[in-house]
Amino acid sequence: MKSWSTMLAALWRFRGFVWSSVWREFSGRYRESLLGLLWSIAQPLTMIVIFVVIFSGLMRPTLDGHEDNPFAFSIHVCAGVMAWTLFSDMLGRLTTMFIDRANLIKKSTFPRICLPAIVALSSLLQFAIILALLLLFLAVIGHWPGLAIFWVIPLVALQLAFTLALGVLLGTANVFFRDIGQLISVVLQFWFWLTPIVYTTAALPEWLRSWLPLNPMQPLVAAYQRVFLDGLSPDPMSLLPLAMMSLLLLLLAARFFLSRVGELVDEL
């Protein structure tokens, strides 16, 4: 417990560094461009427009119970892709966070725990933009989810805990075994298609459906879809296993990180 508290205290002391690093990473991406921050909106906006054009204009797949809503499938996909983007973007960056900043780590002594915090916050910032655009879109088409929208907060918190735990674990191990970074990008591709994002659970054959709960991202994505499409509260019980797992994983990741953080510098 001692190391936990010193770790968090150090993080608090360097909060200025964390905040400004988040802002720098965000603004730095568009620094030399003419349109600047407009680009950060262009990307998610394109995504929403494409999904709407394809799934509401061209293909028009229908969803059970939403036959009268032409935008139903677009919303289903957008909600899933939004959650998935936060997950894969954050996990990918957590995996390489130490390697990417080797130069900084080898030259200064800031608490290393700042790095996952910076990655998590800057991924969240990107997510916030997508979320805002999606909500704007929902408001425009008159499909506002109502009070259920507040469920996004605990859902994001849970997703953050899960992704952080997994990412810190993989990011630390990746310094010692660089295969992990490669492996993750491959695994994420499979994982995306194993999660009902661009298809629905109902579209799956019976035998495959029983395996779905083994995918930790499935209940999470389903919960987002329920909030945005149905405007209903997700079933907390469906998220309980993921919550328990995240907590365990978080403890494990912290222990692993703390025991290897010293040795880590020598391997960069």
Binding site: F17, S20, R24, G28, E32, I105, K106, S108
Partner: protein, 406 residues
Amino acid sequence: MSAVLKLHRVGKAYRYYPSRWARILEWLTGLRRHRPIWVFRDVSLSMAPGEALGIVGRNGAGKTTLLRLIAGITPPSTGTVQTEGRVAALLELGMGFHPDFDGRENAIIGCQLLGLSREEIDACLPEIEAFAEIGEYFERPVRHYSSGMQMRLAFAVATAVRPDLLIVDEAMAVGDAYFQHKSIERIRRYQEEGMALLLVSHDPGAILSLCPRAILLDEAKVVCDGTAEEVLDRYNAILSDAGRQSVRVERLASGRAMTVSGSGEASVEGIALLDTENAPMEVVATGDMVRLAVDVRINQDIDDLVFGYMIKDRLGRVMFGTNTHHLKIPITHCRLGQLARLGFTFPLRLGPGEYSVSTSLHVGDTHHAANYEWKDVALLFQVVNPRHEHFVGVCWMPPEAKLDWD
């Protein structure tokens, strides 16, 4: 007074795994699969506030690793490192500057990495800008900087707020003379206020002018801990590879250490400073003509021999040095048992103080090729100034003074 830095039997080993899989096996089974490669072991030292310590050693002797350990970047494998107060480190070039951001932003990042608060940073930013003196470049991306500018900025940031311990690795060598003077001045001022300084440099001048004390790292341990002068002499002896077999240190009557190294094919048998009447002197007056007389004994047949000497001041700074190669006096076909008598006559234009003469016998124009003998403090003498008008400094450059009224 409490120590700013305390190392107790510190050692650092890198882990060498025979294969990539060995590490997985070790992690999974808990059985040791690696071989430790020791960079150094058993280093103990402590520094008081205001103290300055130089670290010298050959490339790969572990100087930088030791600094990183002290800076807290990497943990020691054995022993303990204790620091008191704020530690600022200037390791290599820059402090991990971000090339795309401008000087101001990088200065802010640097300050944040040092753990300064928002208010402290706001307060010292103008100071950093003024001290770095890089003009409009302060607002330009760091990738447009020269290495000198990066160094200026890095130094300005690291010393914006006085640290309790400043760690400097080689960085001083990059800056121009003007900035070096400026940064040394700041270091001196901070030292008076209690800052301790740890300096790694290949430049003996930098060590001598800033650090009264030094340590020499070689072959994984501290081989010498003493006055900077003594340590640098030892370092010089180690530098010439041939000298490695026989480095011995003799204490002179004055208590000053004398280092002798070399393979011994030839040796300086006698050395003296003589006046114009050939009488040996230990005290010389500024401006007098003197003759340095040296007897070299040949212990083995050698084809080619060069004799060199250096006159150093009390801090070990070289006042003057030359050798028979540069003076175009070839010494060839030396036969066993011969005695070569050399004489160097020159006016002694040195200021009052104590000086020493180091000698070397070698092949070619430096002592690194083949080192027959290297003697530090082969001779000590004192300079006084009884005849000429008073002056300060180590060089006597008498001016012709003139005054005109309009």
